[in-house]
């Protein structure tokens, strides 16, 4: 658990960080809260000769809510998501999900940007932002571009972000209606055995819109459009729940690990999806 030698940089602007990134190419990586990268470096599974710490870049911090849009700087910590009152009004599911990530010590350091950019299928925020239909803002040598969360994840640790780009912010529209983030884990600090993010709105006693994403059930977060579609126009009856479950099962691809075999994870995914839908429905 001793990392190899590396150069440490602490730039104070995105432009400066991009400059260092360009200079060293794939020998450089940015670090946010460090909860994924530092263990990997200590295990020598990641070799990073040039480590660019984003902590000093003030522009990457903070949450702003203007009109109907929420913008979260990449270096905002999980703890800041939990304690931000306006965010609780604008998108309460974030607080509910963030409270289920690790423990307070981790949440003081762990950032939203790191959580979504790392591409670890175990992370909670990617699926959550897919449900929210968020966009990720990427700064690169060519300028700024925006990629929808639903198009960002390609495979485990493989994303649409280019090596010379930095993920700087996440934006999404305010939510209304019901929400729930449901997660089963073995203990505090563990990744999900299965997790479900559900958002839905209600009109005339029926589901008007719905969005569902699942976590740690494939090598990417799983946005479940058909499962959400199965709920629209229903009163979240037993049949509707079964249909959503079946549609979700068709797109997840869990692998056996120490949390259990794939068939167990599928079963749990179904149970927690139903629980999440019912909780969201009760709040809609």
């Amino acid at each position: 658990m001793i990392p190899a030698n590396f150069e440490y940089y602490r730039p104070d602007s995105v432009a400066a960080a991009l400059g260092i990134l360009q200079e060293h190419g794939d020998e450089a990586r940015v670090i946010a809260g460090g909860h994924s990268l530092i263990p990997m470096m200590k295990l020598r599974m990641a070799e990073v000769p040039h480590l660019i710490d984003l902590q000093a870049i003030a522009a990457l911090r903070g949450i702003s809510i203007e009109g109907g849009t929420v913008r979260i700087g990449a270096m905002t910590t999980q703890n800041e998501l939990i304690t931000h009152d306006d965010l609780l009004q604008a998108a309460p599911i974030l607080r509910e999900a963030a409270l289920q990530i690790a423990d307070p010590q981790v949440r003081y350091m762990g950032t939203v940007g790191g959580n979504v950019a790392n591409g670890d299928p175990g992370n909670d925020m990617p699926g959550l932002f897919q449900a929210l239909d968020a966009s990720f803002e990427l700064h690169g040598p060519e300028g700024i571009r925006s990629v929808p969360a639903r198009d960002f994840y390609e495979a485990a640790y493989m994303t649409a972000r280019e090596d010379d780009e930095i993920l700087t912010a996440i934006t999404f529209a305010r939510t209304s209606g019901g929400y729930a983030y449901e997660k089963q884990k073995r203990k505090i600090g563990d990744y999900a055995t299965a997790a479900a993010a559900v958002l839905l709105t209600k009109e005339g006693g029926k589901v008007a819109t719905a969005a569902i994403a699942m976590t740690n059930l494939s090598d990417t977060p799983v946005f479940c459009a058909d499962a959400a579609g199965a709920l629209v126009g229903t009163e979240c009856t037993t049949d509707a729940l079964a249909a959503a479950d079946a549609a979700m099962q068709a797109v997840i691809d869990p692998m056996q690990d120490n949390r259990g075999p794939a068939e167990f994870k599928r079963h749990v995914a179904g149970v927690i999806l139903k629980r999440a839908i019912l909780r969201a429905w009760s709040r809609a």
């Binding site: 001793i2 190899a4 423990d103 073995r186 120490n258 167990f264 079963h267």
Partner: protein, 804 residues
């Protein structure tokens, strides 16, 4: 009345036996001021790190250290070839086997030590490890002990033709020993004639003590005076000194072993690891101090594991439930080397306590030790030697028998308990239980949890479940355990020939304070607090005026160390006995000072009083002063004593634990709704320390029963080498515990104390596991192996058809 109050006041001022005195150690620990091995830094100190095997079984074709040696700051790279001239490439284990210090031609488990890099700092050492090029040729891997006993694959080529092992004949090249106790023939007869026989395979999985602080050492050879000093995370520093002397040829007086503060041991720090040997050799060669500290993954993957016992039980009874016989056959997976830390004559420890709390007329056990491609060990993880395995086995077998008989498991226990009047009780497997009152403890426990009410609620829950109104079941986990601790009588118990006595040496200072040194070493047990209390009650000086010191072999008297709950039964007894020697001399001094005959004095809390004249007395403080400042005819000056205590018997703490658990059949999630722990550890020295021990021990039991394991894939890769996968509960997962007690003193211990640190692990594991099993009893579950993590509980529900 006034006299009584006054005496009570003096008694409570001593903070002696029975006082919930705050732990004196906690002042430094809670302020982060503990001093651990890794806090030691010395001028010129070098750092060691291991190249470890990525394979579970492979031939080492070649080791090329040239690139590592070329790295600036690297001082040496040791391999087996370098250690061979010193005969240190292998080392003896505590179990009579030998173990490679560094890979000698082959590796036998993943994480095995292959080469030892010594460098000027810890970072360079780690860099150099990456540069050592080792060529391996993979060999077939054996991770299943039953397969290992059939396989043609030879794991231990060094002893493949040896027909005799350290513990008798070997049946196969991967077989280590067969050990038996009891009457096989009579047991078979009783089972054959029985009205009811329950048979079950009970697996107690491989786990690991995982102390918060991993293992480490700093070795410093002073070439000027020829003295070798070894600081380390040692649970038995004196034994380490003797072993180091025998291995190195350095005379024992020239070796000083120091255990500083230790961050938990739980059995993991009893044995000798290759890191210690390599650091010592490196220091002898270089003449400067060498530090080796392992990391968490190394600790989990390569240091001593615990359990891994496959226990085939058969229990016979009458139709009414009176047990008539017990037979257990164990297949014990010891990994690559037999490195159990058991008393030498007991290769399966005290597993023959497996008749538990029950009056079983005839019994037989046999244990076969087996080599596999897993890390060596088999230590007593917060228990006496193989006692958790035994307690789990019998407490599961009782439940299985209750199912077979269609009986309530609490009642089945009650009718089979050894009765109070049967003590001292001779068990069928050869132990003499010192004292007990199981029925009283059991009734108190059942009443405390409203057992009948719980059973009623459980029955209602089953009905509600069947009607589809709930998906949660209720389990009531019962355990009545009997421990055997305090190894032990020297006539039976030794480690590498050293009798398992322990010791205490007391010096009273002239102003009436004292220092006591012991052969044990605290790793969090609170010895500095509780041993001072024992002494306070014996010699009448306040516990606050008594320093307890352990762990430095240059100053402490020889002792066998702290594990197997032996500190209070053995060193605690030595403390009381040494205190009594102090008091005997003090009585002579007091008699002189008071100008009376010794026999005219009586002891009164903190003083000697002239019989019938209570106003004439000398306090221990007065006496201490006189001992150093007054010439007393016929007496040497000073007030000191030493006692080496060889216990006449083990002690047998017991307890009744009840766990009430909610289990979700769909997700496998569980919640402990109630946990009641009644412990009888004989005389209670410090109730608060006991409560802390019980909380900690039950939490470790929760971990083991509900998730903690060292698991391997079929290639012998360790799948649980980090705390992400090795289940270590946080405060969040830890339930509330209710503690309770009865007090049945040990008749042979000077103060009647039996030891408690390990009881909660022994009793806790079956209580949690039985709760899981009990939740599914109504649906036909007989046995499901631990750990009961979410997916395994889910699997039980699935196999019982509860998911339709």
């Amino acid at each position: 009345m006034k006299d009584l109050d006054e005496r009570e006041e003096r008694r409570s001022a001593l903070k002696g036996l029975g006082c919930s005195r705050k732990r004196v150690e906690d002042v430094r620990f809670t302020q982060g001021k503990g001093h651990y091995v890794d806090d030691i830094s010395m001028p010129g100190m070098l750092h060691g790190d291991f190249v470890r095997s990525p394979y579970a079984h492979a031939r080492v074709v070649s080791i090329d250290a040239s690139k590592a040696l070329a790295l600036p700051g690297v001082v040496a790279v040791l391999t087996a070839k370098d250690l061979e001239p010193l005969s240190l490439h292998w080392m003896p284990t505590l179990a009579g086997d030998k173990q490679m210090v560094l890979a000698d031609g082959k590796v036998l488990f993943q994480g095995q030590e292959v080469a030892f890099v010594v460098a000027k700092d810890r970072y360079i050492a780690a860099d150099a490890v990456e540069l050592v090029e080792v060529e391996y040729e993979e060999l077939p891997v054996l991770v299943d002990p039953f397969e290992a006993l059939q396989s043609d694959v030879v794991l231990r080529e060094d002893i493949k033709d040896a027909k005799e092992g350290a513990h008798g004949p070997r049946k196969h090249h991967n077989h280590i020993f067969t050990w038996e106790e009891g009457n096989a023939e009579a047991t078979e007869q009783a089972i054959g004639a029985a009205e009811v026989v329950a048979e079950e395979m009970i697996y107690y999985h491989r786990t690991h003590p995982c102390p918060l602080e991993p293992c480490g050492t700093v070795a410093s050879m002073d070439k000027v005076n020829g003295k070798l000093t070894i600081w380390g995370t040692f649970q038995a520093p004196h034994v380490v000194r003797t072993v180091a002397s025998l291995l190195s040829g350095i005379e024992e007086h020239n070796i000083r072993v120091v255990s500083p503060d230790i961050g938990g041991g739980f059995g993991n720090k009893v044995g000798v690891y290759p890191g210690y040997v390599c650091a010592i050799v490196a220091s002898i060669v270089t003449g400067v101090p060498v530090k080796w500290i392992e990391d968490r993954m190394e600790n989990l993957m390569a240091t001593a594991f615990a359990r891994d016992y496959w226990m085939k039980g058969r229990i016979a009874a009458t139709k009414e439930g009176k047990i008539t016989a017990l037979d257990v056959h164990v297949t014990a997976d010891h990994g690559a080397f037999d490195a159990c830390a058991d008393p030498t004559k007991f290769p399966a420890g005290f597993f023959h306590i497996v008749t538990g709390s029950y009056d079983i007329p005839v019994a037989h056990v046999a244990v076969d030790g087996v080599y596999t491609n897993k890390a060596p060990g088999g230590v007593a993880y917060r228990c006496s030697f193989r006692v958790t395995e035994a307690a789990y086995c019998i407490e599961r077998m009782i439940e299985v028998l209750a199912i077979e008989l269609g009986m309530d498991a609490a009642e089945l226990r009650r009718i089979n308990f050894i009765k109070k009047e049967q003590f001292p009780y001779q068990s069928a497997l050869g132990w003499e239980y010192d004292s007990g009152d199981y029925h009283t403890a059991w009734d108190k426990a059942l009443k405390a949890v409203d057992y009948e009410g719980l059973r009623k609620e459980q029955a209602e829950r089953v009905e509600a479940f069947k009607r589809g109104e709930t998906r949660k079941l209720l389990g009531i986990g019962l355990t009545h355990f009997t421990e055997i601790v305090g190894a032990g009588p020297v006539k039976n118990c030794d480690i590498l020939g050293m009798g398992m006595f322990d010791s205490c040496e007391i010096r009273i200072h002239p102003t009436g304070s004292a220092i006591a040194r012991l052969g044990t070493i605290s790793q969090g047990q609170g010895h500095a607090t509780t041993f001072a209390q024992i002494l306070a009650s014996e010699i009448g000086l306040s516990a606050d005026s008594i320093t307890i010191e352990e762990g430095d072999t240059d100053t402490a008297p020889y002792g066998l160390g702290t594990y197997g709950s032996r500190s209070t039964p053995v060193a605690g007894a030595a403390t009381a006995m040494a205190g009594r020697k102090i008091r005997a001399k003090a009585q002579m001094i007091a008699a002189y000072l008071l100008e009376v005959h010794d026999d005219d004095l009586e002891w009164d809390v903190d003083r000697f009083v002239v019989k019938g004249a209570p106003e004439r007395f000398k306090t221990m403080k007065d006496i201490a002063y006189a001992a150093y400042n007054q010439a007393i005819p016929g007496l040497e000056p000073g007030l000191e004593a030493v006692s080496y205590y060889d216990p006449p018997n083990m002690t047998y703490p017991f307890g009744a634990y009840i766990c009430v658990m909610e289990v979700d059949v769909d997700t496998g999630e569980w919640e402990v709704r109630q946990f009641y722990a009644l412990d009888d550890c004989g005389t209670r020295i410090n109730p608060m320390v006991i409560e802390g021990q019980v909380h900690g021990g039950v939490t470790e039991a929760l971990a083991i029963a509900m998730g903690q394991e060292i698991a391997y894939d079929e290639m012998g890769n360790c799948k649980t080498g980090t705390l992400m996968d090795f289940y270590l509960p946080t405060a969040w997962e830890t339930p509330n515990y209710t503690t309770d007690f009865t007090e049945t003193p040990s008749p042979h211990h000077p103060i009647g104390a039996k030891g408690v640190g390990e009881s909660p692990n022994v009793g806790g594991v079956p209580a949690f596991s039985n709760a899981v099993h009990d939740a599914f009893r109504a649906f036909g579950l007989r046995q499901s192996h631990m750990p009961h993590d979410h997916w395994r509980i889910w699997k039980i529900a699935q196999s019982l058809g509860l998911h339709q």
